[in-house]
Amino acid sequence: MPDTATSAESIITVRGLGKRYGDFQALTGVDLDVRKSEVTCLIGPSGSGKSTLLRCMNFLEAYEEGEVRLDGELIGWQEGSSGPRRPLPGRRLREQRRHIGMVFQQFNLWPHMSALENVAEALVQVQGMTKAEANGRAMAALEKVNLKDKAGNYPSALSGGQQQRVAIARAIAMEPRVILFDEPTSALDPELVGEVLNVMKAMATEGMTMVVVTHEMGFAAHVASRVAFLDHGRLVACVPPPEIFGADPADPRIRSFLQTYRERNVV
């Protein structure tokens, strides 16, 4: 069932969200509340719209129907006015995006910059800090992900897990109100998944608001406050983890999805 929590404690509210690519309806009527200091995991089969939903939240995908609000502010579109919606001017959209961090499946670190430069770059270019201030903040962020000693390394000299932790530090350093994770461990070798999940767990403990698209059911079951299950572009449920990972989930779609994981003894 769609989330019915009051939006007072929500940071992100999604209402009636719809997105289509040509003839393909990627999302249909999605309602979701992301609450402050909680971890919300988005799970579901491939092509169910998890990543699209996540990317609508910072307008990397321009959604056509419905709305996404960050602390009440409509993301990406101009408020009000009748007729067809008009996109926000670039400057306003950039201002909104500063408060929404994002971590990608492929890390997307900038290869020509060292770990420290990757983290400090936006602080200088977007937040207008001096280089010294930015480096100080960047170093603190790298320390949080246990990579202080790799600050001078280029991404090509880091393992996948280390690269992803630099990407997380890059997001943290901006002090966003929420961080979006798009399958942050899917591109990693299995033995490197743990170090990234541990960093994310620590962030959750510190009260960072996080939205995580993931195939790591263990993480969803043990770290998430709420788990949203999507199927064919619709939100099937957004509930505390036990209601999904418990003995007998209500919805048959959830049951069949989890079956594949149970067969591999993952959950």
């Binding site: 990397l60 950039r94 995006r97 997307n108 900038w110 020509h112 000299a157 890059r170």
Partner: protein, 219 residues
């Protein structure tokens, strides 16, 4: 070798060399800038503007440099465009080089992974900052060689400027040859000048390449 010839014609040759260098550097930089601008506009616009830019590229690339120079220098006055030979030479170089440079930069944009743009966009970078700080340094890794290549081609295209009476190197050399009836020495020296320009360009290209590939070599 009649070296005393060079004592007499040396100043004229050096002056010609100076004009050649001026047209070459101003033309290359201008053409590169215009090409980069075209590639940027192409990258951020819709179908119609892309179509127009593509037409410009095809037309300029599809006509000989000499014809373009004739049109600029001899045809220009009909449209109120009065250029001195050197001005026409530089303008001609900028126009002639721009589509080639534009195509090189366009390939550079196309080869930059989408995620590189996205990572910057979702942090609030402006598009220009993304180009300047994120995309350009990365594309230089792969486009420095073709850029160098084309600037080398342009060194030798400067000789064509003599047809619109730009007093460049070839023009001065021809004058010297015609007045003294010596051909081997002047043209040998002429070749040396071009060779020096080409060597300098490829040296510069290597330096730039070393600089922009630092992150690929150092741990």
């Amino acid at each position: 070798m009649e070296l005393d010839l060079f004592v007499r014609y040396g100043p004229a040759l050096l002056h010609g060399f100076g004009i050649t260098i001026l047209c070459w550097i101003a033309g290359s930089l201008g053409g590169m800038a215009l090409g980069f601008l075209i590639a940027c506009i192409y990258q951020w616009s819709g179908r119609w503007i892309r179509g127009l830019l593509q037409a410009y590229i095809e037309i300029v690339r599809g006509t000989p440099f000499m014809i373009q120079l004739f049109i600029l220098y001899y045809g220009g006055p009909h449209f109120g465009l009065l250029l001195s030979p050197v001005e026409a030479g530089i303008a001609g170089f900028v126009v002639y080089g721009s589509p080639y440079f534009a195509e090189i930069f366009r390939a550079g944009f196309a080869s930059t992974p989408k995620g590189q743009f996205e990572a910057a966009r979702c942090m609030g970078f402006s598009e220009w900052t993304i180009v300047r700080r994120i995309v350009l340094p990365q594309m230089l890794v792969s486009i420095t060689a073709p850029l160098t290549n084309f600037v080398i081609i342009l060194t030798k295209e400067t000789a064509i400027l003599s047809v619109v009476t730009v007093p460049e190197l070839l023009y001065e050399t021809q004058t010297m040859a015609a007045e003294t009836f010596t051909y081997v020495e002047p043209f040998l020296v002429l070749s040396l000048f071009y060779w020096a320009m080409v060597e300098f360009t490829s040296w510069l290209g290597r330096r730039v390449e070393l600089r922009v590939t630092r992150h690929l070599r150092r741990a």
